[in-house]
Amino acid sequence: MKRATHRAAGPGMIFLKGVLRAVEEQIIDADGLTRLYGENAAVDRIRLQVNKGEIFGLVGPDGAGKTTTIQMLCGIKAVTSGSARVAGIDVVRDSGRLGGKIGYMSEGFSLYGTLTVAENIDFFADLYQIPAEARKERTARLLQFSRLTRFADRPAEKLSGGMKKKLALCCALIYSPEIIFLDEPTTGVDPVSRRDFWKIVYNFLSEGITVFVSTPYMDEAERCDRVALMHGGRILDCDTPRQLKKRLPGGQLSIAAEPLRAAVSALKEGGRYASVQIFGEYLHVVVPDPASEQDAIRNYLDGRGIKVHSIRQVEPSLEDIFVSVVAGETVTPRQAKGRAVTTEFLEAQPLLQDGGYAVEVFGLTKRFGGFTAVDEISFQVKKGEIFGFLGPNGSGKSTTIKMLCGLLPPTSGQATVAGFDIGREAKRLRPKIGYMSQKFSLYNDLKVEENINLYAGIYGLKGERKKHRKRWVLEMAGLTGRESLMARELSGGWKQRLALGCAIMHEPEVLFLDEPTSGVDPVARREFWDLIYDLSSRGVTVFVTTHYMDEAEHCHSLGLISDGNLIALGSPGNLKEQNLAGELLEVETSRPLAAMDYLSDKEQYSGVSLFGGALHLLVDDAGRAAPAVALMLRQGGFEVRRAEKAPFTLEDLFVALIEAQDKRRIEGGRSL
């Protein structure tokens, strides 16, 4: 057919050829695609077109229907109605022929744990019958990019979470599919591994592979060519990130003020501004007219005794777009609950502002057989502080938390939590702490109310107090009126809040949260952090681990752990100052992934990294470097939209510290 058109290239045919080309270039063409579960539409008549060779992002809150959409496009989920063609194949009728044309990395970990890294890759190469020669070359390349070469003979189950994800990607890329579907591929993965992950994706893009990715990380969505916003089974909007951002009404102001929290509550007061968010050390406020409102805000805050350091207009991020679109669409138990929480908790919780330490750790060590998971760490956490505990996957964060909660006996060293020794006084310690593990740890087969009742009973709450606390948990989680839903029917954000509610039902002094927001959508994450702030301001010490560096910015102090060693400790600001020399140059450009690749070939900029949709370069003097870099990029055929000095982010710090540590380790000849 194709050949025939080439030969008979009359004027009419040229037109036809154009049409055909257009059709061909759309690797995904779905129309009216619907999937019903009983009466409920998980995916509701969506229309999707994805061009060949692009990175297409699908973002949306939990339960929006992203996974169902991907599974239908992969031909492994039955379609209720509508049509979809993927790589030229009708997935509704002919999904059997898709095999070999598509790659799919599901949300769950889907490798064979007992097989080694190399064997897993080999199995997939076998499945797709990659010839031995090509296989060898490709495997070597994939392993190198994912930095898994050293671990080729390690069973997959012994890898850290981040490495597992990278391996899964390697397996999906071994056979060069036409399109690869990635369903939340980097959920729960540390920033360094996430960078590696995207490097692999990018490197294989040059083969013409189309990437279809769903992600809860908005910075990842920023680097997609086009993004579709999905909510309630429908696609609300679909465009390039740049165009999407233009749709935010008004503009966004970034404010540096002191004290920051007071500024937030002042601006939120009386519904003055709907969207006020802490973003690192800054406040982001969405206003109808940014130019005129700057002074008004400065005066307003001054009048409240809040010192304003700076106000400037900033470009909204995709996350802001997401929040505004989703907030506009969501029915609002979410919004209503903010105030209720604050007042209720105030009544119940005595203020603990007497100073002193809530957590003290000295030389804490945990060994499993010959493997040292936590290696003589020592630190202290002040009462009422939010302590962020950061580190790559498998560095010993969860092990530390489990020891502090009295779940795991330490091998050596000691620690006190809320004044009690974690070993000797574990029984007396337990009523003082709350704990929320990585996995949803409530009963899926119990109703919301039953879960709450269970924990109320376990903590011995009775009568009025029980009723009071129950109502508080329901309101806080925004679950009032949904008491009789089964816990498994809740979406991710609700589950997390319910789990939090149950963990703090008994008003603990110290709260341990192990990746509480992993895989939760941005709106839910913001709300969750509002709660954490509230708790902290009431004197509860919060000990939290996270892979979201923007969340880490919200912490009072941070500890960074790598391979069981504590490698940095201090406030976010101090840490950045002490550990990052030089200045940060932020460059916004077209085709950021390609631009990064282009720059990393130039020796002086080899440290270039991707941050959201922009590039970050570590330079001595940002002012001098900016024009040089811009010129270089333009010569490479890239459009440079912005190149300016920017404040260091925690992600820069995290990556710098971990990479330095890795380097030391490799140079020191220590192997894992």
Binding site: I76, F109, T114, P155
Partner: protein, 375 residues
Amino acid sequence: MKLVMPLLRKEVREIRRDPYTLGIAILLPLIQLLLFGYALNLDVAEIRLAVWDQDGSPESRAYLNSYRNTGYFQVRRHVSGYREIYESIDRGETFAALIIPADFSQRLLRGETVRVQTLVDGSFPPRAEIAVNYIEAVNEAYTERLVDSQLQKAGLGRLQEAIVAEPRVLYNSSLVSKNFIVPGLFAVILMAFPPLLSALAVTREKERGSIEQVLISPIRPYEFMIGKLLPYGAIAFVEMLVVFIAALFLFEIPFVGSIPLFLLMAVLYVLCTVGIGLLVSTVTSSQVAAMLMAIAATVMPSFLFSGFIYPIFNMPKVFQVYTYFFPARYFIEISRGIALKGVGLEYLWPNVLMLFIYTLIIVGLASIFFKKKVG
């Protein structure tokens, strides 16, 4: 079919890395064999008797000796009252009690009929039934001798045996129960573990989500099924060999038929049992559910409704039909036929045919139900 090899290699690697499961897979059948072989012994070796001899005469002692002399009875206890009898049987100390009335010798001499009473522990009827047979036989033999001697005394000549029964036991002529149990065990043991393992092997992939990767690959359902069928079939066959060798050398089963034929049939049966596991796995999504279904569909029926211990002719008609739904029935007949009777396909072909058709249907259904969809 090209894609079967990679699947096979992957399965073999996975199995090898999981020595725990593999160990249990090989070890459990052996333990089961030992337990069944040694513990499932229905033979009645010795009947322990309690005796209440109210007469205490030479005649009553002679009567008692006629039991002792058979070698099947052992007098454990002399008692003097029902209470002691019940107590002794209740506690399981004795199995039966013989009560000889006080006028035993008196009535004998008067030429009257004497009534002796025997109480047997009926709590495990199979044993009781055999014991009752023995006791009746001894009593009748004694009576016959008694009548004969009286006739002689009266000058009426001797009793001449009218009919002589010549029992001939074909096949398991020693009538040892292990010879009957063990060949049946092959069928039961292979129904217990291979389906379970294969059902778990697939549902585990479903639970873990690794099956999704396989679903989107060019692999066809039947290739996937064969990829699972062969390695687990091989494990099951090894189980079979282990059990078979143990049966021959440990239990010294006289195997009269053709061993190659038997092994060939075992391969067929093994494919069938593993196939059942796969079929179960296609309709369940969790390991626990798969386990329960596998047990419900395989272990219990093959134990109870296959003729393994409980003879099929004893069952109500409905259940006789019911037994045809479980392949263990066919293989038990094949196995016992070859091992004990030494017969070949000329007699066994209907069972073999049924088993073959059954296997085809099972594997076929499994391939059909194994949709390349997640839900």
